[in-house]
């Protein structure tokens, strides 16, 4: 589903953010990418939905090399990738329903499908009763659920979550990870960048460790530390 081949990323006058990364993520896999801040976790995410281009190497998503993708094809790549952020990136002046529907509407989805899909998505994340609330009226966990609902409303085969529990307390963090696990079980490849040790250790999934832009460990049923 996802393949990074000899991928490096550097910026002018800076050290390598990523160096010679090789990573294969199979269909419906759940994988944690862990490492300290600045290790390159977010850069890997950005390469996958082509917010960034690698300085070298190949980034393949669903059999498409995104590096060679024409810029007018990028929106179609992104419709197959849901993205969840630490800071939620919800539109403050829209309700939860509108935030989720917005993601469908901008892809030109027919209006008749929108309500049904948004409701399904909100039900999936357990936020139906908050559909008409504005982000300011939600708790951190609810905001993250709304962000996840927006990310999955298109039924993307891939879900990327960049520090999804970064702003949440341990109990809420666990709820969010359980939700991502539930989404994974519905045939979605899930890639979570985190430095939440407890969650990684409790989940016992594949763990890829990044340090200074290099993969130092790739372990099935792994833990945060060796």
């Amino acid at each position: 589903m996802i393949e990074l081949v000899n991928v490096s990323k550097n910026y002018p006058n800076s050290i390598d953010v990523l160096y010679n990364i090789n990573l294969h993520v199979g269909k419906d896999e759940f994988i944690f990418v862990v490492g300290p801040s600045g290790a390159g976790k977010t850069t890997i995410m950005k390469l996958l939905y082509r917010e960034e281009l690698p300085s070298a190497g190949k980034v393949v998503v669903d059999r498409v090399n995104v590096v060679e993708l024409d810029s007018n094809q990028v929106p179609y790549l992104r419709r197959n990738i849901g993205v969840v952020f630490q800071d939620y990136k919800l539109l403050a002046k829209r309700t939860v329903y509108e935030n989720v529907a917005f993601a469908l509407r901008v892809t030109g989805a027919p209006r008749s499908n929108i309500r049904r899909k948004v409701m399904q998505s909100l039900e999936m994340v357990g936020l139906l009763r908050k559909a008409n609330s504005f982000p300011a009226e939600l708790s951190g966990g609810e905001k993250q659920r709304a962000c996840i609902a927006r990310a999955i409303v298109n039924n993307p085969p891939i879900l990327l979550a960049d520090e999804p529990t970064g702003n949440l307390d341990p109990a809420t963090s666990w709820d969010i990870i359980q939700l991502l696990d539930k989404i994974n079980k519905r045939d979605t490849t899930v890639l979570v960048a985190t430095h939440n040790k407890n969650i990684v250790d409790d989940m016992k999934r594949r763990v890829v460790v990044l340090e200074n832009g290099r993969i130092t460990r790739d372990q099935q049923l792994g833990t945060y530390n060796t």
Binding site: Y49, R50, E51, N72, P75, Y76, L77, R78, R79, V83, K89, L91, K93, F102, A103, R105, V106, T107, G108, R150, N154
Partner: protein, 295 residues
């Protein structure tokens, strides 16, 4: 695109309403800028009109031999009328000129004691289309054998010609500069409204919106801001020009201000369509710049 038109319009209205303060600031700036632009255009048009009016009163007087017959004078009048730059030729016979002279001065002087016969020649007063023709016409007239003397106010004509050239050139340059400044002001004002919604654009791009899908609501909003701004500038300009026109034409009735409704309507239409175009261009340029910087 048209299947999404409803969405674009709703989004444009929604963002207009949600960032109402910013939208009204943009409308205000467009209206004020266009009013200044329109006032300048009206000033240049009126100045040109006044100068043109003064210059249209510049006549050339051509005097001919006393013994020319009335038939020959008539033929000469036709020849003169056909000369380039000539608008109208009036013929005043020496008899008529003498009668008028006697009427004007007969009461003050005993003309019969001074003159036994009519000393005046036949006269043609020639009206030119523009003052630039006066020296050229004078040169041509001097080649006619029948014409013995030509009179025109050479220095005044030269000054008017210089003034007209200055108004035309200066006016054109200033209109271009003001247009450019107006465009810059409007583009940057609308850019602020676009920049205020950078997160929204980022999210739209992230969830797979195409660039044109992102652009359209902003362009429609830009058009809305432009139409309202242009409409307000039209109202402000029309009412202030009407008021100024009324005052000046009462106080200085000899000053020929532009009252041609067709010409004024054209200027007002420039305000409305100019505002609309500026809003649209402003939004397009601004959102394109943000999109370029975005993912």
């Amino acid at each position: 695109m048209f299947s999404n038109l409803e969405f674009f319009i709703i989004e444009a209205f929604r963002s207009f309403r949600r960032s109402a303060l910013m939208s009204f600031v943009a409308i205000g700036i467009i209206a004020v800028t266009l009013v200044i632009f329109g006032m300048f255009i009206l000033l240049v048009i009126n100045l040109g009109n006044i100068i043109g009016n003064v210059s249209s009163r510049m006549d050339v007087a051509a005097y001919v031999e006393k013994d020319i017959s009335l038939e020959s004078a008539g033929a000469l009048q036709i020849k003169l009328t056909n000369l380039p730059g000539v608008e109208k030729v009036n013929f005043i016979s020496r008899t008529e000129a003498w009668r008028k002279f006697r009427e004007d001065f007969g009461g003050k002087l005993n003309l019969d004691e001074v003159m036994t016969s009519n000393p005046l020649p036949h006269t043609y007063t020639i009206k030119v289309k523009t003052p630039e023709y006066v020296p050229i016409l004078a040169k041509r007239l001097s080649k006619f054998d029948e014409i013995t003397e030509i009179r025109y106010s050479g220095q005044l004509i030269d000054q008017i010609k210089t003034l007209m050239d200055a108004v035309r050139l200066g006016g054109s340059v200033l209109i271009i500069l003001i247009s450019f400044a107006t465009l810059l002001i409007v583009v940057n004002t609308i850019r602020l409204t676009v920049l205020a919604r950078e997160t929204e654009i980022y999210i739209m791009k992230l969830v797979g919106a195409t660039n044109s899908f992102v652009k359209w609501p902003f362009i429609i909003e830009g058009v809305m801001i432009g139409v309202v701004g242009g409409g307000l500038s039209f109202l402000a300009l029309k009412f202030s020009y009407d008021a100024v026109f009324l005052r000046i034409s009462t106080a200085l009735p000899f000053l020929p201000l532009v009252s041609d409704q067709r010409l004024l309507t054209m200027v007002y239409l420039v305000m409305i369509f100019g505002g609309t175009a500026l809003g649209m261009i402003g939004a397009y340029v601004s959102v394109s710049k943000v999109l370029k910087a975005e993912i």
